[in-house]
Amino acid sequence: MSEAILTPIEKKPMGFTAGVLALAGAVAGLFIGTAQGSGLLGVVAGAVLMAGLAFLAMQVLGEEMEKPVRWAMIAIVAIAGVLLGGPPGLVVGALFGWFFGWFIYWVGLGRYRERLLPYLTGGQVLWHYAFRVICGAIFVFLITPILVVMPLSFNAENFFTFTPEMLRFDPEGYSLKHYRDFLTNPEWTGAVKNSLMIAPVATLISVSLGTLAAIGLSQSHVPGRRAIMAILISPMIVPLIISATGMYFFYSKIGLVGTYWGIVLAHAVLGIPFVIITVTATLVGFDRSLTRAAANMGANPVTTFFKVQMPLILPGVISGGLFAFITSFDEVVVVLFIGSAELQTLPWQMFTGLREQISPTILAAATILVAISICLLTTVEILRRRSEKLRGMSPG
């Protein structure tokens, strides 16, 4: 909509700019002030400093000097940061400088209205940006824990926290020793090996059976479809602890507890709902007349399935398979109950490690797992878009 409506932007009155900046400076000053010992002093100093800077940038130097002023702000505040807080202060200071340099011009020149509808009131504009800040905070909440793990996994010490050396960006404080441990310690390599032996087989079972069943379920006349669907989806709904308890009782009766096949069967069942859901979703867009056309031209049902239907629903099958894989690869409760010492999987190793606080090798494992999940996420997204494009549902 922003192309159609051009919202005129204009320079704001100095009082408004200075006021907003003083407020922002006061908030920033509060944090810096408390860190240095006096919150009140920080608030006053921050407010005065920012109001002054705003006046300088808007009235004295003017719009043409924007670039040099912003660079200068970054440099000055970064140096101030170093003086106050050492190397970590450098980064924080530079970020503050960059933000305030941008903020002064954004507010002072009225750029914040650029992308908005021209008739919005001041309150609505304020709410618009406040809402984005709130959402931004929620996104930070979502993503920070995952990001924090990564630098900590390069810790040179056996701590779960940032050491002073790390904060000083001292190379001494960083090392790859936890990765070395992860890749050489037989406990961890054995766990990875077990996981890699269990997950693909479980995935194979759930994908092959799940795809067949999904094709059956998508036929037009299936007696008791709702009930069958409810049973097939139930492994996803029933709490894992209950599934694990039941499997422990039942599998010990038939001698599957502590065996490889016991875990594979359990994981295959847990992965099935994901395959069913993704494949049935793909089959919704599948054109039935294609199979009839194939049959008409003399193809038998097996050929029709592999040559016509399978290539078209493949994206759904693959992403269902990835879900099933990650379910098995990430599953710990069932393994804890029906596994054995020789069948420790990677999540089991991480779980016991977390309970007993062994070493940050867990964080190295976590970082590697995050990398794997980024790859899987990318694959699934690409497949989803491809499948939507095939069905002509998405413009992208």
Binding site: F141, A230, T245, M247, F249
Partner: protein, 565 residues
């Protein structure tokens, strides 16, 4: 050229012409298919074939799920009421206790002690008495040690008789004479000819011996069968258990063996004379049990055995709602023993808090995502999907890193001077830690259903409301919000179902005050080994979840579950 080919009208069989003609002839009759059968029938047949084909495709998976998932769940439900161990291990005692008035303040009569003596002796040989003891220990503290002591002590009762018989005649503690006295001669010769590898010839009682020495015959038969089947030893070479001597004493003191003339009759006669003599030392079963442990002559243990003797019990379920079985029927436990009610309440309360915080955090994000242009929404969607795809243990360990006292959040707060270094916040191993970590873990499950509902709401409604003069708040609250409620409902049920049964995260960041009912189930499975109680707690949880699942299916439809947007 045949006649039929030159004259198509004369062909008999399913041709289109014939079908038309048939249809004309039977004008009022049913419409016919090409093969002359009524169309309705043909369609039905085709439909049936289609249904069968669909079912054949589904069947393998359905059978697989039924066997490897539904059957275990059924087994768990069965275990929550199953209680066969008491009746199976103490069959005679349970029968003897039928007439015992459990409400009386006295221990039962000597016949019950006699039955218990034989039962516990066999149970101890089968190593079952400790299992029974730990089962009854769930109901009465101390039962486990009573049964352990009894398993060792029942031998002492029999030794009294064994020693005296042995003093009279060495043969009473020998295998061979006993076998000749009790066993069928044919069996003895067959057993002697046994090669040591094939199946042993099954023990058979000598005819007539059971009439003279009924108890001894039964106990000796039990002994011989046990030796043959469990120990795989020949009864000809094993000295009988002391319980057989006890039975012999009982038979001799009650019956008359003077008429007996079979093998070893002199030996038996000597024993009968010894029992009849006044010097023969005896011990009542009741005294024997009192010597083992004084608790055996108190009424409590017998009441417990009688209460838990049926093969099925509601005891585990009563336990899991803080009640217990008493003589007057189910009753609440003492205030200080009630833990599960509190735990269920806490689980529900915390799940509700988690669901509510997910709504609070998820709603703005879903709103933003559904109102942004597609390209930017997809980019931001990655921030939602990445946690969704990241391993649960990675996220849990990340929260451990963030929340602990030397963790990232506390470090930042100390660095900013908002918290003193010695006053670091306690954010882990309590309810707060569980709620924060689980809100983070379950947030994507709230955002995704909300997003899929919100992206179907046409923006023109809100604009129309605005143009009609509604304020921002009114147009949101009266127009937009009601349309987004299905999304909130779907997300809330999903998050609530998932959170109510969570185990891993509370176990790691929950400490003692932040744990859920699932942690208690795991504790009973792996540590206290009270499987029945674990199964009962699991069944209650399962019922709650299934009710919610049913509601979810009603409101959202299970087909409409979407994964990854």
């Amino acid at each position: 050229m045949t006649d039929a080919a030159s004259e198509p009208d004369k062909i008999t069989g399913p041709t289109p012409d014939n079908a038309l003609r048939a249809a004309d002839k039977a004008d009022d009759g049913p419409v016919l298919a090409a093969d002359g059968k009524p169309l309705k029938q043909s369609l039905n047949r085709a439909l049936r074939a289609q249904k069968l084909r669909a079912l054949a495709l589904i069947a393998p998976l359905l059978i697989f799920v039924l066997i490897s998932f539904i059957a275990p769940i059924g087994d768990m439900l069965f275990r929550s009421v199953e209680n066969q161990i008491v009746g199976e291990t103490l069959p005679r005692t349970v029968t003897a206790l039928t007439d015992y008035d459990a409400a009386s303040e006295e221990a039962p009569g000597d016949d019950v002690f006699e039955a218990a003596y034989y039962d516990i002796f066999y149970a101890a040989e089968n190593k079952m008495h400790t299992r029974l003891g730990s089962r009854l220990n769930y109901e009465m503290t101390g039962a486990s040690s009573m049964f352990r002591k009894a398993g060792r002590g029942v031998d002492d009762i029999g030794e009294v008789y064994l020693d005296q018989f042995e003093d009279l005649d060495e043969n009473w503690d020998e295998a061979r004479p006993w076998a000749e006295l009790m066993g069928d001669p044919d069996w003895i010769s067959a057993q002697e000819g046994w090669d040591g590898e094939s199946r042993m010839p099954a023990f058979e009682l000598r005819s007539g011996i059971a009439d003279i020495l009924p108890r001894t015959a039964t106990t000796y038969e039990n002994f011989a069968r046990f030796m043959q089947n469990e120990e795989e030893e020949s009864p000809l070479e094993e000295e009988p258990w002391s319980v057989v001597h006890t039975a012999l004493y009982q038979d001799l003191s009650e019956g008359d063996v003077s008429g007996y003339s079979g093998p070893r009759s002199d030996m038996l006669q000597g024993a009968a004379d010894l029992v009849a003599s006044p010097d023969f030392e005896t011990i009542s079963f009741r005294d024997g049990f009192e010597e083992i442990d004084e608790d055996w002559v108190t009424p409590e243990i017998w009441q417990i055995i009688k209460t838990y003797s049926p093969a099925y019990t509601s005891g585990y379920f009563l336990n899991s709602v803080d009640m217990q079985k008493t003589e007057e029927g189910p009753a609440m436990r003492d205030e200080d023993e009630r833990i599960y009610g509190l735990l269920f309440q806490r689980t529900l309360f915390m799940s509700m808090v988690i669901t509510f915080s997910c709504i609070l955090l998820g709603y703005p994000v879903a709103y933003l995502l559904s109102n942004l242009p597609a390209s930017r929404a997809n980019l931001l969607m990655i921030l939602v999907l990445l946690p969704f795809w990241t391993s649960l243990l990675v996220r849990t360990s990340a929260w451990k890193v963030m929340l602990q006292q030397q963790g990232v959040i506390n470090d930042v707060l100390v660095w900013l001077g908002m918290v003193a270094d010695d006053g670091r916040l306690v954010m882990i191993n309590n309810q707060f830690g569980t709620i924060v970590a689980m809100t983070h873990i379950l947030l994507p499950f709230m955002i995704l259903p909300m997003y899929s509902v919100m992206s179907t709401i046409p923006p023109s409604y809100v604009r129309a409301a605005r143009s009609l003069g509604a304020t921002n708040w009114t147009s949101f609250w009266r127009v937009y919000f009601p349309q987004s409620v299905p999304g909130i409902g779907a997300g809330s049920i999903l998050v609530f179902i998932l959170s109510i049964g969570y185990y891993i995260t509370p176990e790691i960041v929950g400490g003692t005050s932040g744990i859920f009912i699932s942690n208690r189930i795991a504790y009973h499975i792996s540590t206290s080994l009270n499987w029945g109680l674990a199964a009962a707690l699991g069944s209650i949880l399962l019922v709650v979840v299934l009710a919610l699942y049913w509601a979810y299916d009603r409101i959202v439809g299970i087909d409409n579950v979407k994964l990854g947007g």
